[in-house]
């Protein structure tokens, strides 16, 4: 049971870690000073949440017994994040589209996690909900601003939404372990808010004068540790210091 909970926590937290790392890449490279700070602020929010999750997970695992070991000392196949969050910052539209498609899910997920029977997860969710609400507000506003902006911004954000759409369904994929955790009352049954998710997305895309993609062909794999070609590059950045100087501490 301990190992199942450990795996379940990683399934939540790895999303935040990898998305936080992706947003962190923009530090000093954002399209403007203000958006640069905004993206790295969101990154720090996510990494702060990751620390709480990993600290909890570290108490449940025998091999990786600290938050740093969990973050840095796993191989690619051991990361359980969805494919959406590892997609690159192709341009600002992709960064915003990725954030938007994740934030809407993330807020619904955290709201439901607040009802878990696991009190540590509830405490993390209670702390995260305000941050996550702000993230959603930020990315939704940007979707509307870009969609309802110039012809160029409209085209770019539509392309980004279309390209990333294929990764949305995986957010709701339930692994056998997820199902077990739902039965135990600790996990979140994402199936319950899948319709709400797509309705909220659709409503904001409408407001942004953007088309909701109709494609029904979806990618998956991340939740089982099978990642896109980007993942190795992310990890080589993320893990560089620990791999080069094992056990180093700040």
């Amino acid at each position: 049971m301990k190992q199942d909970l450990y795996t379940y926590i990683l399934g939540i937290a790895d999303n935040n870690l990898i998305l936080g790392q992706r947003l962190g890449e923009l530090c000093g490279h954002g399209p403007s000073l203000e958006t640069d700070i905004a993206c790295t602020n969101i990154s720090l929010d996510l990494l702060g949440q990751v620390r709480s999750y990993y600290q909890y997970a570290a108490q449940l695992n025998e091999r990786l017994t600290s938050e740093d070991q969990i973050a840095f000392m796993r191989t690619e196949r051991e990361y359980l994040n969805v494919l959406l969050v590892e997609q690159p910052n192709t341009n600002f539209a992709y960064t915003i589209a990725r954030q938007f498609l994740y934030d809407i899910f993330h807020k619904l997920f955290i709201q439901n996690l607040q009802n878990s029977t696991d009190q540590t997860l509830v405490a993390i969710a209670n702390k995260a909900i305000k941050e996550v609400s702000y993230h959603q507000r930020f990315s939704s506003d940007w979707i509307v601003r870009l969609g309802d902006g110039t012809d160029e911004s409209h085209e770019k954000i539509q392309t980004a939404i279309d390209d990333l759409w294929t990764y949305t369904n995986e957010l709701f994929q339930l692994t056998p372990n997820d199902e077990q955790m739902i039965k135990a009352g600790k996990g979140v049954n994402t199936a319950l808010f899948k319709d709400t998710y797509y309705a909220q997305i659709n409503s904001i895309l409408n407001e942004a004068t953007l088309a909701t993609p109709q494609s029904k062909w979806f990618q998956k794999g991340g939740k089982e540790g099978i990642h896109t070609e980007h993942m190795g590059y992310i990890l080589s950045d993320l893990q560089y210091m620990q791999r080069t100087y094992p056990n180093m501490e700040w």
């Binding site: 399209p31 403007s32 000073l33 203000e34 958006t35 700070i37 905004a38 602020n41 507000r137 930020f138 506003d141 601003r145 902006g149």
Partner: protein, 94 residues
């Protein structure tokens, strides 16, 4: 893109009961974005409980060239300062 974004002035109230103070300026495409940018740029270290943003072009400022006629006449009117009263010792905190 940034070239086209207008400048906004940011005012932050640091605590309830205090007044909003000018914190600085930033670029943003619209008021909502100015508010979010101000939140990220100026209140990320817990500096405030309320933010005002106003587009800089909406502020009417006095011209420094007119400083002479505007402000110098006040300099030699020391009687406008309440410094000519002898206060009894019993009055404290004045």
């Amino acid at each position: 893109m940034k070239k086209n974004w207008p400048l906004w002035e940011v005012f932050v109230r640091s605590k309830n009961g205090l007044e909003h103070r000018h914190f600085g300026s930033l670029h943003a495409a619209d008021a909502e974005m100015a508010l979010e940018n101000a939140r990220d740029v100026y209140t990320r270290r817990n500096e405030g409980v309320s933010i005002w943003v106003v587009e800089s072009k909406n502020i009417t400022a006095s011209n420094p060239e007119n400083n002479g006629e505007l402000f110098e006449p006040a300099q030699n009117k020391i009687y406008r300062h309440p410094t000519f009263y002898d206060l009894p010792d019993e009055v404290k905190h004045m």
